[in-house]
């Protein structure tokens, strides 16, 4: 099981990032999120969602999903995003196993239903 993100449905609202951090910090922050909206190419209106799993960094780009094994060199043709670096230091997705009432918090909060469980 894992989190699946439809980047074309995403409206770049950052709620998943907040909800993920909340499930670790019990407060509102973006500090510990392992799901992060990449939004640094603002003038190009290019955005999608990054997900850190234990072994993989998944990049849900509008043009499709890119999966990188953590520790291996990323595709040199794709520009890295400012959001990637801090992500690598964070814990990977645990599917919110402690959130009994909700399941994955990112899925529960996404207003655009861009996140599903597969």
């Amino acid at each position: 099981m894992g989190i699946k993100i439809d980047a074309l449905k995403c409206i770049n609202c950052m709620a998943c990032e907040m909800a993920c951090s909340y499930h670790r910090d019990d407060g509102f922050a973006f500090l510990s999120a392992c799901i992060v909206v990449y939004r640094a190419r603002e003038k190009q209106d290019y955005f999608g969602v990054l997900l850190k799993e234990e072994e993989f960094l998944k990049v849900a780009r509008p043009e499709g999903l890119e999966v990188n094994r953590i520790g291996e060199a990323a595709d040199p043709n794709k520009k890295a995003d400012a959001s990637v670096k801090p992500m690598l230091l964070r814990e990977g997705c645990d599917l919110c196993e402690d959130m009994d009432d909700y399941g994955p918090m990112c899925k529960a909060i996404c207003p655009a239903d861009a996140i599903t469980l597969e």
């Binding site: 074309l8 409206i11 770049n12 609202c13 950052m14 709620a15 907040m18 909800a19 909340y22 910090d25 019990d26 407060g27 509102f28 922050a29 973006f30 500090l31 939004r39 640094a40 190419r41 603002e42 003038k43 190009q44 209106d45 290019y46 955005f47 780009r61 509008p62 043009e63 520009k79 400012a82 959001s83 009432d101 909700y102 529960a108 909060i109 207003p111 655009a112």
Partner: protein, 437 residues
């Protein structure tokens, strides 16, 4: 103030370069709740120093749906009235997470400066390197200087530096709801702008209940038909502008939302790149992000094509001038003439209602009727109250006029759960009445 808040107010004196921090007292929150209730109080407290107060709402940056908002409160240099300009996109939340609930900027600087506010630290920095640059160049420069592309900015362009009555404070690269000439106020203080970044943590009194209620409210919101729609043309269409969707569609790239706002109120249009391109554009500046419904409609009414409207909006955003004022006052109907009119613009833009909230937010209910009868005076009074409440709690203003589920009752309930304060309808009524005085 321990909860839903950083607990800190920053007071910056541009005349003396003195920076002070004061505590946000719980008693003030109990009396004024937050957002516009407190920014107005701070404006009155520092009245003799011509203050600009930047703030966030009590619910800003939480799991309350649409809690994206912040605001700038100041005396408009154009109308002479105290006004509240919404802060949109992701700028409002960055202010709170940078470590401060409220920032008072008083006095006048001798030389151009910008304020860098990050992780509970504030600096006044020399802006001579960016004074003279347009809004886009200024944001690019600040992000490059600090080495962080996610820095959120409020900056002025040439219009503000030249103290035009129509100068806007712009957010990142984009036009803002500033219809009050607040860009002129920045210019007259020699304040080029502010840059925010922070990774703070906002504590919640009863976080489990707060999140549970937030998700219940979200669930109710998601039953609305508007959840199948996106973007600015749908908003314009819903308030009666026929043909706008077909007119804009050929240049639409994508729609995006302010922080946790369930409806994507912003639409990016591309005119120097294929709008249907899904990969990252190789063009540095392929288009513009539009959040201003009245300005979009005003350029359309002048007879401009959608592409020329996009180009006019981009030129306004770079120059830092209110696009609605340009469309309404330039008297021109070609792109070149419109862009050439920025410096010589004159005339008065009438603000609706009491002139304290920005008519950037449509003055009608959108997608829902909120039980209004259709009477114009009733609608105006409803709109002003809705704006006041949105500005107190930190709710995205356009979403607040489309979503009945974000009721005063729900907002008060979340604020109470989040703070453990007894925030009642009577207190809210009093704060709203004071704002509308």
């Amino acid at each position: 103030m321990e909860y839903l808040s950083t607990g800190k107010i920053l007071v910056i004196d541009l005349a003396t370069s003195k920076i002070e921090e004061t505590a946000l007292d719980e008693s003030l929150v109990s009396e004024k709740i937050g957002g516009a209730g407190i920014t107005k109080h701070l404006c009155e407290k520092y009245l003799n120093d011509d203050p600009i107060v930047i703030g966030t709402g009590l619910l800003t940056g939480t799991t309350c749906p649409a809690s994206a908002g912040g605001l700038i409160t100041a005396k408009s240099p154009v109308t002479g009235k105290l006004c509240h300009c919404p802060i949109i996109y992701k700028v409002g939340i960055e202010i709170k997470f940078s470590g401060y609930d409220y920032i008072v900027v008083k006095g006048v600087s001798d030389n151009p400066v910008y304020l860098w506010i990050h992780d509970g630290v504030a600096d006044i920095s020399d802006a001579s390197g960016i004074w003279g640059k347009d809004v886009w160049e200024s944001t690019d420069s600040l992000r490059k200087l600090m080495g962080d592309d996610l820095i959120q900015t409020m900056v002025i362009g040439k219009a503000g530096e030249n103290r035009s009555d129509y100068a806007q404070i712009c957010y990142n690269y984009w036009s803002s709801p500033d219809r009050f000439g607040l860009g002129k106020l920045f210019g007259s203080k020699k304040l080029k702008g502010l840059a925010f970044r922070g990774m703070g943590l906002i504590e919640v009194a009863d976080h489990e209940n707060f999140v549970r209620r937030s998700l219940e409210i979200l669930k109710e919101i998601k039953t609305n038909d508007f959840m199948t729609k996106k973007g600015i043309a749908e908003i314009a269409s819903a308030i009666g502008e026929a043909g706008i969707k077909e007119w804009l569609e050929p240049i639409v790239h994508r729609h995006s939302a302010d922080y946790f706002t369930p409806y994507a109120t912003n639409t990016a249009v591309f005119f120097d790149e294929d709008p249907k391109r899904v990969e990252e554009s190789k063009v540095a500046e392929p288009g513009v992000l539009i959040s201003d419904v009245p300005a979009l409609l005003a350029f359309k009414k002048l007879g401009l094509s959608a592409e020329d409207t996009g180009r006019a909006l981009k030129a306004c955003a770079k120059y830092g001038i209110d696009p609605a004022a340009v469309a309404g006052l330039s008297g021109k109907s070609s792109l070149k003439e419109i862009v050439d009119s920025f410096d010589g613009l004159s005339g008065t833009v009438a603000l609706k209602g009491k002139g304290i909230f920005s008519p950037w937010c449509p003055l009608k209910p959108i997608f829902n009727d909120f039980g209004l009868s259709g009477d114009a005076a009733e609608a105006e009074a409803w709109w002003e109250r809705r704006q006041a409440v949105a500005m107190i709690f930190g709710i995205q203003p356009i979403f607040s006029v489309m979503c009945p589920e974000l009721s005063e009752e729900n907002m008060l309930e979340l604020a109470g759960i989040g703070t453990e304060l007894d925030l009642t309808q009577e207190i809210l009524d009093k704060v709203v009445a004071d704002l509308l005085k």
